[in-house]
Structures are given as C-alpha cells and as structure tokens.
C-alpha cells in the first residue's frame, strides 16, 4: 500500500529537530499568553483604566479564588445541562446517522432539516422551549444543548459510515459476510475516528449553548445567570471570574472527549 500524498506533505513540512518542536508546540502559546496578560496588567496600571471598562487580570484572579465555591456551583449547574445535552445529542446523532445510512429515504428527508438546524440560531428556540417544558426546569437548556450536539455528531458520523473503502466492501462481498458482521468488523471501526471528530466539536458547543440558553430564561443556577447577575450589580471582576469558569468548563469537556478518543483508539495501532 503506497503512502498517501498528504502524509508526504506533512512529513516534508515538519522536518525540524525535536528540540525545536517542543518549543513551538507548548512554549510559544504559553509565552504569548503570559506576554498578553502582562501587557494587559501593565496597560491597566499605566493608563488607570476603570474596572468598569476592563478589570485587571490580578483582580479577576483574586476574585476567582475568593468566589471559587460559587464559580464551582455555577460550573456544575451549566456543566450538568451540557453533559446531558451532549450524551442525548450524541446518542440521537449516532443512531440517526446509522438509520440514514441504512435507509436512503430517511437520509434524503432528514437532509433539509439537518441543513436548516446547522445554520440557524438554536438558542432562538429557547423561549418557546421554556414555555413547552416549564420555566422552572432545566429541560429546555438540555434540549438546546442536545440540538446543538446532534448536528455535528450526525453529520460526522454519517460521513464516517460512508468512508468504507471500496476494496474492503468488495472483500466483504466476496466472503458473503452477513450485514451484521460487516457492520461490526468494517463499517464501525472505519467510522469511529469521524464519530469522535464530531464529538470533539460538539463537546465545547454543548457548554456554550447550555450557557447561552440560560440567558433566555429558566431557573437561577448556572454560569450564564451568574455572569449576568454579577454584571448587573457592577461587580465586573466577579463576572469575569465566572467567565473564567466557563472557559475552564469548555476546556474540560473538550479534553475529556479527547482522552476518551485516545483511549478508544489505543488498540488501533495506526489509523
């Protein structure tokens, strides 16, 4: 099997000694981050910028430490909705893609719906969902997150299911293998990397959409509500502390998904 051209491209572009590679991949963004924060702090001190405009990194950090239990509660509230949304959306997205792959009519009927959902602001449905499910429940937020998750998972899974190489398909035909066997040994392993691409994209989207849905109503828990409450009472460092919490939450979701993917792929030994 000849090596694909893309492999050749990346290998020729990446000819650098290991020492250099280490510096650029980890150190460079860290250095940039540190420099930016430093410049930020300096600018605030030098120009006496009001915390009303933008608080200093120092004050955000101290506020974060002071209020870390409320930030934690907010993270748990939003995180729980995002997690349920992620799980439900992932399951529905994968099942939907399996169905669409098996039954062409379903695929064609679902096409406009999925295409529409992928370009519309799903959070716009939030007010209507609160009415449908009750404003005291988190269900609407979970549904918004789930809808946001279904799209990338469905699209990527469907793509993965279609990536089966013709030579593998023909091999299975030659073996007169039963469809269930083919699905288990060829289709699913081929699709797995694509499913995880979809999940990775969906994981941070779940957090963001769950958070923004809080803005449109519903119960008081969650980071979104906390941010707006803090901003409304002019406690900007606190608001930014909650924002830091939301960044950490999004990052955590992404990293966990990545770790799960690496763990599942550990047996694959190369693709």
């Amino acid at each position: 099997m000849s090596v694909g051209t893309t492999d050749q491209v990346t290998s020729t572009l990446r000819v650098r000694p290991l020492r250099d590679a280490r510096f650029t991949t980890l150190l460079a963004p860290t250095v940039l981050g540190v420099l930016t924060i430093g410049a930020w702090q300096l600018a605030i001190d030098a120009f006496h910028i009001d915390p009303f405009i933008v608080p200093s990194p120092g004050s955000i950090w101290s506020e974060f430490l002071d209020s870390r239990s409320s930030v934690w509660h907010g993270m748990v509230g939003t995180g729980r909705n995002a997690l349920y949304g992620l799980l439900i959306g992932a399951v529905l997205g994968i099942l939907g893609a399996l169905l669409a792959n098996a039954v062409r009519a379903v695929d064609l009927m679902a096409l406009p719906i999925v295409a529409a959902l992928s370009v519309v602001p799903i959070v716009a449905l939030a007010p209507a969902l609160y009415t449908m499910f009750g404003a005291a429940a988190n269900t609407a937020r979970v549904i918004v997150a789930a809808l946001t998750v279904i799209i990338p998972v469905y699209l990527n899974t469907l793509r993965g299911l279609r990536q089966v190489k013709p030579v593998h398909r023909e091999l299975m035909h030659v073996y007169a293998a039963r469809p269930a066997f083919v699905a288990r040994t060829v289709t699913l392993p081929t699709a797995t990397p694509y499913v995880f691409t979809g999940l990775r994209i969906a994981s941070s989207l779940a957090v963001i959409s769950a958070l923004i849905a809080e803005y449109f109503g519903g119960p008081v828990d969650g980071l979104g509500k906390a941010i707006t409450t803090a901003a409304a009472s002019s406690n900007y460092p606190l608001a930014w502390a909650f924002v830091l919490g939301s960044i950490l939450l999004g990052l955590a979701f992404y990293v966990v998904t990545l770790v799960v993917e690496l763990w599942v792929a550990r047996h694959r030994g190369g693709t």
């Binding site: 051209t5 370009v119 499910f133 963001i208 924002v243 939450l249 999004g250």
Partner: protein
C-alpha cells in the same frame, strides 16, 4: 443530476418537514396536558394550546396585526423587517470576521511560530460566552471617539458577530492554505516563485474547497452571534429582541413567539444560501474536491 431526480429529492425533503409537523401535531393530540414527567423532570413537553400551539396557528400568525396599538402592521411584516435588520448586521459581522480570520490564517500559514503561538488561543477564544462579551464590547466602543462618529449598539453587535465568524474562517483557511501537494510546492520552488507570489498562484486557489464550508459556518455563526448579541445588548429592531418581546406575551398569545423564531431560522437559511452562491462562482477552483 437530472431534473426529475432533483424534484424527487425536493419532494422527499418537503416530506421530511411535513413529518416533523406531523409529529408535533400527533404528539399534541395524544400527549398528556402536563407533559410526560419522569422523576419530577418534564421529559416530554406539555401539550396544552398554551405550551404547544397548533402548527397552523403558528403560520396563521403572520397575517395578523402585531397588537392593537401598532396600527395595521402585521406580524409577518414586523418579522420581515426584523429579519432584514438582523441580516444586515450579520452580514457586516461576517465580512469583518472573514477578513480578520483570513489575515490570521495567512499569518499562521507563513510563520509556523505564529501558528503554534496563536492557534490554541484562537480555539480557546470560542469558549468565552457571548453574553459576557456583549456588554463589554459596548462599553469599549463607547470609549471610542473618532471625529464626530459615535459608536452605536449596532457596531457592537456586528463586532460580536465577527468574533464568532472569524474562528471557522481562520481554521478553515489555514487548513486550505496548507493543503497543496508537496509536488506543487516543489514545482513553484523550482520556478523561483517566492512565498507571497506562491500564495496567490497556488495556496489561495488550493484553499477554496476548504474555505467554502468555513465561510458557510462563519455565516451561521455570524447570525447566531447577531441574534444573541441583540438580546444581550437590548438592541431594538432586530429579530433577537423581537423573540424576547413576543415571548413575554406568550401567556396571552402562545403562537406569537414562534413567528420571530421562524424568522430567525429564515435569516440563517438565507445567510447560508448566500454563501452557497459564492461557492457557485468559485466552481473552477473546486474541481479537485471530493464529493
């Protein structure tokens, strides 16, 4: 694809939408008034007319007047003008986002160090929630005085839309600019073509298949950003604000909030369609594209 197959596809698509409407009405007919409750959590929605208006009521709303005081303006025309307002802002944001994203992508493609340093932060930027940024942008903007021009709320909304739109463009354009085969790069090198000329002659055309889905995603993101920012800043005239306003009167008129929701959906579709047209213009550069 022949005309017949196209018609068949469109028919199946319409059938899909009808199926969703059918599901809505079907559940409404058989479902319990208080919704399906499992362990105190409402799992399936309430089916009262208040919670789930009939599909035909929702569409019928478009021709009714907005309220008793607004003269004769129908809901339909109000939603339409809101859509137009939002679309214009989203388009502005999209253009800014595309330009910024593209510039960043070129920088990162040219300098590996720039890519390593900036890309993680660019990815992280999207985890910052909009509702935190929106009031911030407005405050910053109000500090800007250039001549007689004053920063308006609309500028804030456009900036936020741009914030969401630049990310897919930066990532997609970077992938596209990096996509040419080693053989093509070697060819240009042998012709003595420098990096910047090579950008125009090779990398930009090669990036088109990656750019188009990114532009479409950026359009969708710009619309989302505009709608959420409108709510966050409280900007009148746009569809976002209208959704909140109409939702407040949902108690008396349950079908009304759905009108601007459909409007927002429409804005997203139009934005994506417009980008699709750009794709048509750039067809010669997409010849190598896999289906």
């Amino acid at each position: 694809m022949s005309a017949l197959r196209y018609a068949g596809r469109a028919l199946l698509g319409a059938l899909g939408i009808l199926a969703v409407a059918g599901l809505w009405e079907g559940y409404k007919a058989v479902g319990p008034g208080d919704g399906v409750v499992v362990h105190g959590v409402v799992v399936l929605p309430r089916t009262t007319d208040l919670a789930m208006p009939h599909v035909w009521d929702m569409f019928g709303k478009f021709s009714e007047p907005v309220n008793l005081f607004a003269g004769h303006q129908t809901v339909g025309s109000a939603v339409l003008s809101g859509c137009w307002f939002t679309l214009r802002l989203a388009a502005t944001g999209w253009v800014i986002g595309v330009v910024v994203g593209f510039v960043l992508a070129i920088l990162m493609a040219r300098f590996r160090l720039a890519e390593s340093a900036m890309l993680p932060w660019i990815v992280l930027s999207q985890t910052v929630p909009l509702i935190a940024i929106a009031p911030l942008v407005r405050r910053w903007g109000s500090q800007i005085h250039i001549g007689g021009w004053v920063w308006s709320s609309e500028n804030s909304v456009a900036v936020i839309a741009a914030y969401l739109a630049f990310f897919p463009v930066a990532v997609g354009a970077l992938r596209g600019l990096r996509s040419p085969d080693a053989t093509h790069l070697d060819l240009l090198h042998a012709y003595g073509v420098g990096w910047w000329r090579g950008l125009v002659k090779l990398r930009l055309p090669a990036s088109v298949p990656y750019l188009l889905p990114a532009l479409r995603l950026a359009a969708a993101s710009a619309v989302i950003g505009t709608v959420v920012a409108e709510v966050s800043i409280g900007l009148r005239g746009g569809i976002g604000r209208m959704i909140i306003e109409y939702a407040q009167s949902a108690g008396g008129d349950p079908a009304k909030p759905w009108a601007p929701i459909f409007g927002a959906i429409g804005v997203g579709l139009v934005a994506a369609g417009a980008v699709g047209l750009i794709g048509l213009l750039l067809r010669p550069y997409r010849r190598g594209e896999a289906a």
